[in-house]
């Protein structure tokens, strides 16, 4: 009798355990399925009003949040006491915090980066010494593709600490060309020629106006900055073309860009000048 009762009890326990296990499995499967579906819905909804990076962040939060809830429900179903886990989580957090300071710092920096949005995917940026097109802004790092087609990973912490230059934020850019003209050049005439050059070039913006500004009296001549405003996407092409055009325009008016030169005076022991070496290149003097 007792053996039969024991057998029945064992069988019912096994059946109940199986049922519990089944419910937990269902919770996990349904939960993860729901998380998968909800992350897509959240992404599509958020992407309409927010940037790509923020939408991706929301997608991840939704997925991991719903998955975590499903996992916690399954564990509760299996009889685990999650309050113990919550207590342990505090200790675990401290331990993990020490162990993964860098990663945590990167993640927090990544969240700030996504919130602040100094750049977006596709922008051309300079971060510290790295310059390139932003391929991805992830929680741990920013990925760049440089002009040399190199893949550069910059940790988010570095991005947040360093200086960021975003070359594609604004639609137009000022192109500054540094030009040195001889001391005896007529600066008013030079200014007029270079302004006219900008006005005549169809790709140089008429407004904001071109500008020619005195910078300083240099070693070999007067240093000027010639500033032309151009559309950002044409910056590199025009930098090349206008540098050549400025040189040609000055040469057309008989102004030759000066090279560094020195005049050497020979003086004897009594301080009397005894001769003059011909002017020569800096390398030769």
């Amino acid at each position: 009798m007792s053996e039969a009762l024991q057998a029945v009890l064992e069988a019912s326990v096994d059946a109940e355990s199986l049922a519990v296990l089944g419910r937990a499995l269902v919770l996990v499967v349904v939960g993860f399925g729901a998380a998968y579906v909800l992350r897509g819905v959240a992404y599509r909804t958020v992407a309409r009003v927010l940037s790509e990076e923020r939408a991706v962040l929301v997608r991840r939060v939704v997925f991991y949040g719903v998955s975590g809830l499903a996992l916690a429900s399954a564990l509760t179903e299996l009889g685990f006491d999650l309050t113990v886990l919550v207590g342990a989580a505090g200790i675990l957090t401290v331990a993990l915090g020490f162990a993964s300071q860098t990663s945590a710092s990167n993640i927090i920096s990544g969240l700030f980066l996504i919130g602040e949005q100094p750049f977006s995917v596709g922008d051309w940026v300079q971060i510290g010494t790295s310059e390139g097109e932003v391929l991805a802004i992830d929680l741990l790092s920013v990925k760049l593709r440089t002009a040399q087609n190199l893949y550069v990973r910059v940790p988010n912490e570095t991005v947040m600490k360093g200086e960021i230059v975003n070359y594609t934020r604004f639609p137009i850019r000022r192109l500054d060309l540094l030009v040195t003209v001889p001391f005896d050049a007529d600066l008013d005439a030079v200014r007029t020629w270079l302004m006219d050059l900008g006005d005549a070039h169809p790709r140089v913006l008429d407004e904001p106006r071109p500008m020619v500004r005195f910078t300083r009296y240099g070693e070999s001549g007067v240093d000027l900055v010639v500033a032309y405003w151009v559309v950002r996407t044409e910056f590199l092409d025009l930098k090349d073309a206008l540098s050549v055009a400025v040189k040609r325009e000055l040469e057309r008016h008989g102004v030759v860009l000066p090279f560094p030169h020195r005049r050497v005076v020979l003086v004897d022991e009594s301080g009397v000048a005894r001769g003059l070496l011909p002017e020569t290149h800096e390398e030769g003097s």
């Binding site: 604004f170 639609p171 137009i172 169809p202 913006l205 008429d206 407004e207 559309v231």
Partner: protein, 261 residues
């Protein structure tokens, strides 16, 4: 002087080489062995009066020309004028002030684009003289790219130099605000305007720019057709911007973009 049209159908048989000189533009059209070659360049005085067709004896385009080639279909190509593909920015000849509650009429000459089509296919859309780019907006961070016109806004139609490769616009500026309105630059939505051929000149649709009575809002109103000065006209081209659906849409699309403050 009567208008001398350069637009219309051009017959170009196999081994036919033709050249059009239109103001500052030189256009070469050649057809041989089933290939249509279009070559062009634009240089010199944008207000040049030159306009002549000639026959060439070679397929080769001289150096300095931009060249495009197409698979040739029929032996007929259509040349037609179009207005600039972006807005233009014009300055008055001298500082212009519209007193409070007053209206001023100004005229402007803009360069045309020369479009080439074969059947319904647009082959090329070329500026007869390309204006410089310019920026129009409240700052260098915000605004739009347009064309800067070298020609000035004039208050007298007689002083405009009429050319068949340029279009004249009549612009009415109405200042309903209680303050005088000083005008240094005007942004004009050329891509929204239709084009007409008058007896002596090519005309755009009439434009009316209104400074609102609050002194802060501007409204651009596009008139339905060429101005009275154009006389009897024939339609040459519809607006480039196909989104024009009704005058109301037009007006409100252009709101706040008319006058510089």
């Amino acid at each position: 002087m009567a208008l001398n049209p350069w637009w219309g159908e051009v017959e170009l048989p196999d081994r036919g080489y033709r050249s059009l000189r239109l103001g500052p533009m030189e256009l070469l059209l050649s057809r041989a062995s089933g290939v249509l070659q279009v070559a062009w360049r634009s240089r010199g005085d944008p207000l040049s009066e030159a306009q002549a067709w000639s026959v060439l004896d070679t397929w080769e385009a001289p150096p300095g020309f931009e060249v495009r080639r197409f698979a040739a279909g029929s032996g007929s190509i259509r040349l037609h004028p179009r207005l600039p593909d972006r807005f233009v920015v014009a300055r008055p000849e001298q500082h212009m002030v519209v007193p409070a509650g007053s209206t001023l009429v100004a005229y402007l000459s803009s360069p045309l684009w020369l479009a080439l089509s074969e059947g319904d296919t647009l082959l090329a859309d070329l500026p007869v003289s390309r204006p410089s780019d310019t920026w129009f907006g409240p700052s260098t961070m915000e605004g739009h790219l347009g064309y800067a016109l070298r020609t000035k806004l004039l208050t007298s139609l007689e002083r405009l130099r009429v050319r068949s490769h340029r279009a004249i616009s009549r612009i009415t500026i109405e200042n309903r605000s209680p303050m005088p309105l000083g005008i240094t630059r005007l942004r004009l939505p050329m891509a929204d305007l239709a084009l007409f051929a008058g007896a002596t000149a090519v005309w755009t649709e009439e434009l009316k720019l209104v400074r609102g009575d609050d002194g802060d809002t501007d409204q651009v109103d596009i008139g339905a057709g060429a101005p009275a000065e154009a006389g009897s006209v024939t339609a040459l081209a519809s607006p480039r911007d196909g989104s024009r659906q009704s005058p109301i849409v037009r007006v409100f699309n252009a709101l706040f973009s008319g006058l510089e403050r």
